[in-house]
């Protein structure tokens, strides 16, 4: 019986279907992100019990409920902190963090910055719709100047953050941007992000069809330009990535901006994990060690 349980079996799309169907509004960009994540896991054949999907709060943060992996639907803004603890306690797991721009760049901004500099080995997918959806349409940290929302009815007077430049500046070792309307491209970025050893940041334009009437599919389509189509672009060049990240307007780049593999992930840098994942470690500390702890005090 035990052997039957351990036999690896082929992972299919159906295996990743959640217990309930997504309750996002029809046409929401998040459907495309969910499909791309499922497709990426199937293509990489990562057993779903070895994947933990962790989110905060918001429309897109309902994501873990719609996919059949282990999941944690945590507090608003705190997914990255929870995910760091998860990865450090069991680095054998593939950790995906999903959420929105308000969750990640607003209330969770502090954790965003520090998780990047720590180079925690996980893929962070932000479904960036430039608006607060679940609270029915308020300005977010990525809303453009002038955008009218319920919380800024006369137009936003605050500059938005640039998630890509921010990630580059904070030391993220994999930085990419996708578009929910570009499934194949997005799936490819997700696969690369999962395989990257270290912190992978993937900002995804995921239009809110209900509350954001500025940044729609139609608005994005003519503007986006894949970095992969520019054969001269070198994703190992941080300065070039920074320069590209500043482009916004008629041309908006998507794709892999930057990646480096020479920085150890946090769990690789910590010698305590040399003996394997903490979750498998002995509860008891060897007696000679505990005796030395007491001797120090005598």
């Amino acid at each position: 019986m035990a052997t039957a349980l351990e036999t690896p079996r082929h992972l299919a799309m159906a295996d990743l279907k959640g217990k309930v169907d997504p309750d996002w509004c029809p046409g929401c960009g998040d459907f495309g992100v969910l499909a791309a994540v499922q497709k990426a896991l199937v293509e990489l054949q990562i057993p779903n019990h070895n994947v933990v999907t962790i989110s905060g709060i918001g429309c897109s943060s309902n994501f873990p409920g719609f996919i059949n992996t282990y999941g944690m639907h945590t507090l608003h803004g705190r997914a990255l902190a929870v995910a760091t603890g998860m990865k450090l306690a069991n680095h054998e797991l593939t950790v995906l963090v999903t959420g929105g721009d308000g969750d990640g760049f607003g209330i969770g901004g502090n954790h965003f910055m520090h998780t990047m500099r720590r180079n925690v080995d996980l893929l962070y997918i932000v479904m960036d719709n430039q608006i607060y959806g679940l609270t029915t349409g308020q300005t977010s940290p990525t809303s453009r100047v002038g955008m009218k929302t319920k919380s800024m009815p006369f137009g936003n007077i605050e500059s938005p953050i640039n998630p890509i430049s921010l990630a580059l500046a904070a030391g993220a070792t994999f930085v990419a941007r996708g578009f929910s309307g570009e499934q194949k491209h997005l799936t490819e970025l997700i696969k690369q992000g999962i395989q990257h050893r270290g912190f992978s940041f993937l900002d995804v334009f995921s239009p809110c069809v209900t509350y954001n009437h500025d940044n729609t599919y139609q608005w994005f389509r003519p503007r986006i330009k894949k970095l992969e189509e520019d054969s001269a672009y070198d994703a190992a060049d941080w300065m070039a990535a920074m320069e590209k990240s500043l482009l916004w307007g008629e041309e908006i780049p998507i794709g892999k901006f930057f990646a480096r593999t020479d920085v150890p992930a946090l769990h690789e840098a910590e010698p305590v994990l040399n003996g394997g994942a903490l979750v498998h470690a002995d509860t008891r500390i060897p007696v000679d060690v505990t005796r030395s702890f007491i001797e120090e005090l005598m």
Binding site: T53, A89, N90, L93, N110, H111, V272, R284, I285, S292
Partner: protein, 596 residues
């Protein structure tokens, strides 16, 4: 009365108050003597005023006591502030070159050391400290050998020359005192015991290691930082992942993430940091992921007095996070208990899959106590509760159908599968959910299911109560006065009771360790027949008194409170009890006589 000797060392921060303190502590504990040390200090790295009290004796020493036998002022300020505290039989050893004594009470021996004659002060900046330690040990009747041994250990890294220089200076002080100062009437005895000397913070950190903690994270905050320091410096030997996090919100959530992966996970902070953690406490309760949080109380509100003690966070713990949820809260009674309480709390948190709070305070966190090494048990009972860490053919998707992470059970406890185990995939959520983890907060709200889940979680409260022992009354049954305290006041109340009994007022003590569950019925039964009840606590509003009243309707006859940042001394309680028994007051707020 217990025979003790108390030494105080006063000086500016950075003047080296700690080193002579450590030397005395080592010598006393190796002599088989108990000791208690308390350092009154300020939130300053250099300067200010620091006043370290070390009290020692052959029996257990549980608090700083009422009397100083020996004072070593390292600067004029310390002399000016504290000479008045010394009474007949006490002595004051000081540097005669730089410090002028004031007027001492009758019977106080002033012991000036001609420091520049006894040591080359151009070479050794702390010569006055070493001379004073030597002189003090001579007056206590302790052979020089003990000091030589400790100094040799302390300076051996710096080489033979430094060792012999310091031993020489100490010897000069020792001999000078032998020739010029009167020894104490009570030479310090020696016993066959040997004790470890440790702070509450070290005790809690080691208690965590003993409990099998594999993940510890924190943001530095006085007076909890000592836990982080022990954890960080012993992490690699103990196999514990220790992280310093960007803020306490990150701390508690990171700890929960690690706990959810299946390891025991702990964090410590003080009131301000705890305030940031409270939403996370609710998350732990809702996802049923056990985590243990230590709160080392300091004087609040807000930043308050970072280096001073208080028992002012009780209601914050009782009310931490919104909504109703099961939680366990316990306050360690002394520094030895700081060690023991951690594995106990983890067993409860793990079994009942809920947050556990250890409510410590600066007095214990940063105080130091001699503890019998046998009481530092690194192999305590470990009960991880109903944890699924391996695939099974009998349950989960491989067995009889869907795995229900939040299965409704009589105990309220649902078997918990950790990520990585095939056949048990599920999502744990901070939103309300049904048995299989699916949210019932958004699309599928359902009053019946919501009620069932609330009741499931809250059933754990009765389970916790059944495994936590109720408090017991210490001392004579039918006493004139019953003193009720909680947590760190155990030792000082105990000594106050002893003094009262010696003075013909019979006193007993009810000390509360488990605050949640409280066992209110047991407490009420004990107190309802008591002759005169007084609640003693280190805060302004009587937080425990209000809690006890809310849980049991019990109202005591009086209250003794202190909220000046400093701990109780036994005489504070003794005098207040007498005042209250005479009918002069129902609320006593003793004044702290030591200006620190």
């Amino acid at each position: 009365m217990r025979q003790t000797l108390a030494i105080a060392i006063g000086g500016a921060a950075g003047q080296g108050v700690a080193t002579p303190g450590d030397i005395f502590a080592k010598i006393f504990s190796r002599r088989g003597l108990h000791l208690n040390a308390y350092n009154a200090y300020q939130s300053i790295i250099r300067g200010g005023h620091t006043f370290l009290t070390i009290r020692t004796g052959p029996e257990k020493v549980t608090n700083m006591g009422d009397r100083l036998d020996l004072m070593i002022p390292l600067n004029q300020d310390s002399m000016d502030r504290h000479l008045r505290l010394l009474t007949s039989g006490a002595a004051c050893v000081y540097n005669a070159d730089t410090i002028k004594p004031g007027v001492a009470a009758k019977g106080v021996q002033l012991c000036p050391l001609p420091v520049s004659k006894l040591a080359d002060i151009s070479r050794n900046k702390v010569a006055q400290n070493t001379l004073a330690v030597g002189a003090a040990l001579s007056m206590m009747g302790i052979g020089f050998q003990a000091l030589e041994e400790v100094l040799t250990e302390q300076f051996k890294k710096k080489g033979e020359a430094v060792v012999s220089e310091n031993v020489g200076i100490a010897r000069a002080g020792y001999d000078y005192a032998g020739a010029n100062f009167k020894p104490f009437a009570w030479p310090l005895p020696m016993t066959g015991n040997r004790y470890a000397v440790l702070s509450g913070n070290i005790a809690m950190a080691m208690g965590g290691a003993a409990a099998g903690v594999k993940f510890y994270c924190a943001y530095p905050m006085s007076p909890s930082t000592g836990v982080l320091h022990w954890m960080a410096s012993h992490a690699r030997k103990a196999g514990i992942m220790v992280r310093q996090v960007e803020d306490e919100i990150g701390v508690v959530n990171m700890a929960i993430g690690a706990a959810h992966a299946g390891v025991r996970s702990m964090c410590a902070t003080s009131g301000g940091g705890f305030a940031l953690m409270t939403e996370g406490l609710g998350l732990s309760a809702m996802m049923e992921t056990p985590v243990v949080v230590i709160d080392c109380q300091r004087a609040g509100p807000s930043t308050g007095v970072p280096t001073k003690t208080e028992q002012g966070d009780l209601w914050q713990m009782l009310g931490a996070a919104f909504g109703d949820y099961p939680r366990a809260i316990a306050a360690p009674l002394d520094i030895g208990d700081c060690f023991k309480i951690i594995p106990e709390m983890f067993n409860i948190a793990d079994r009942f899959q809920c947050p556990g709070i250890v409510l410590c305070d600066l007095l214990l966190s940063e105080g130091r106590l001699s503890v019998d090494p046998k009481d530092l048990d690194f192999a305590p009972v470990i009960d991880r509760g109903e944890l699924i860490t391996k695939a099974s053919a009998a349950s989960g998707a491989n067995g009889n159908g869907e795995y229900l992470r939040y299965k409704i059970t009589d105990s309220g406890i649902s078997p918990r599968a950790v990520p990585g185990v095939p056949g048990y995939t599920h999502t744990a959520a901070s939103d309300e959910h049904e048995e299989n983890g699916v949210l019932i907060s958004d699309e599928f709200t359902n009053p019946t299911k919501r009620r069932a889940m609330m009741e499931k979680r809250m059933r754990k409260v009765a389970g916790i109560e059944a495994v936590v022992p109720p408090p017991v009354l210490w001392g004579p049954r039918d006493a004139d006065v019953t003193l009720i305290g909680w947590g760190s006041t155990k030792g000082v109340i105990e000594e106050a009771c002893e003094i009262l009994n010696e003075q013909g007022i019979s006193a007993n003590q009810l000390q509360i360790r488990w605050l949640m569950p409280l066992h209110g019925d047991v407490i009420f039964d004990i107190l309802k027949n008591a002759r005169h009840t007084i609640i003693v606590e280190n805060n302004y509003s009587g937080q425990f008194a209000r809690y006890l009243r809310s849980e049991t309707s019990f109202v005591p006859d009086g209250y003794i409170r202190k909220y000046d940042g400093e701990p109780f001394m036994p005489h504070h309680i003794v005098e207040a009890v007498k005042e209250q028994l005479a009918g002069n007051s129902k609320l006593s707020v003793p004044a702290h006589e030591i200006m620190v």
